[in-house]
């Protein structure tokens, strides 16, 4: 199955929405800590939800570099090898 960058963004947003305390508009610019209030472990848990949907593992040093949803989408895309 081919996954496009748009698919990855959709998976990220869809995975995130049900776990948010209050509705927040999501975009590539959304800051994961400041706008969504996720702590370090919540962030890793969230990435874990996505990993299995894309069948990739995201190393922790890569997670540590991510600040925005756009960063996350880019990292997932690289690891998945999507052009």
């Amino acid at each position: 199955m081919n996954t496009s960058i748009g698919d990855i963004r959709q998976i990220v947003f869809d995975t995130l929405r049900p776990s948010l305390q209050r509705p927040v508009p999501l975009s590539d610019a959304t800051n994961i800590v400041n706008d969504l209030g996720l702590d370090s472990v919540a962030m890793m848990d969230f990435v874990m939800e996505i990993e299995n949907r894309l069948d990739i593992s995201v190393p922790l040093d890569r997670i540590a570099e991510i600040e925005s949803l756009g960063d996350l989408v880019r990292t997932l895309r690289e690891l998945k090898g999507v052009p």
Partner: protein
Amino acid sequence: MSLLDKFASLRAAYDGLESSRANPFNVAFDRVLSPTEAKIGDRDILLLGTNNYLGLTYDPAVIARAVEAIETFGSGTTGSRIANGSYDGHMRLERALADFYGRRHAMVFSTGYQANVGMLSALAGKNDHLLLDADCHASIYDGARLGHAQVTRFRHNDPDDLAIRLRRLGDTQGDKIIVVEGIYSMLGDSAPLREFAAVKREWGAYLVVDEAHSLGVLGETGRGLAEAAGVEDDVDFIVGTFSKSLGGVGGFCVSDLDGFDILRVVSRPYMFTASLPPSVVAAALEALRQLRARPVLRKRLMDNARRYYDGLAELGFDLGPEPNPVVSAIMPDPESAFAFWSRLLDAGLYTNVSLPPATPKGLALLRSSVSAAHTPSQIDHALSLFAEVGRSMGLIAPARLALRAAG
């Protein structure tokens, strides 16, 4: 602007706790009387949040050996074992640990935290892969960060998720090192170690088990979960601490791996810190001797743990999945945990509050740890205080309903 501005929201939360005069992260005991009793001011406090699993902190022989050692060898070693030399006690303690586990090698660190950081950072090199259980202790995550290996996290206690991640690595070069714990410190659950061992064998990985909370607690002879699960041969490295069941401070790693001793001049947290003082080493040696000679301590501990766990479950508290000496009541939110904790302390019972990110899944926990030194009546007293506070906060059913549900 101040350097510490980045902690502003944490500061506000911390100050809020301080001004409520009920800050679980800033408790001081004015006196400690026994493994289970202390004083704050002139109030008697029953201790149920200590990790003093075998209750050995006031054991007369442990204290006597520590006193002899401090008188004979002095108060400290004033340096690292590599730069400044080992003492006889360090060597004897390492031999005693190797003998206890039936392994060829043992290495002692100055804390359990350093044992994890020291082992993981040294074992996993640049091209290797560390696979950590999602709920592993901070020291395991910090050890992974100090090294240069690629680190991935697998779902807590999920051997299938671990296998999926090993499959994804495929034939990427480098060794694979899996890290799990015996008993997890937050919810008191244990790892499905037989299943993890099977995955480890299938994929040709190494397995590290941190038995910090299971040494002296699980297994026929108290060696921990690897012994209890019958998979010691599959566990390549056991890490542990003297700070819980052994009632002191210090950490260790045991292994049968050829050439293990080279780690002494590789592991920075082993080399670049002062070694344990003679009194601490002597106390740990004696506590280990007692752990081996007095299996009754383990039986008392587990009897107490079951009495306490079953009691809280019957009252209607939401608990971790297994009756172990770590017993955590899951609170609806941090505020309830603080309120519950402070009412217990006012009534003379000390427990722990554990909050995210230190806890799994964002849980707010009111954590207790049971000791072999607790008497059944101390356990029952703690249960009655939990019942009283839990009911008055509306967290559990009122007395009559609870009775009917139990009957």
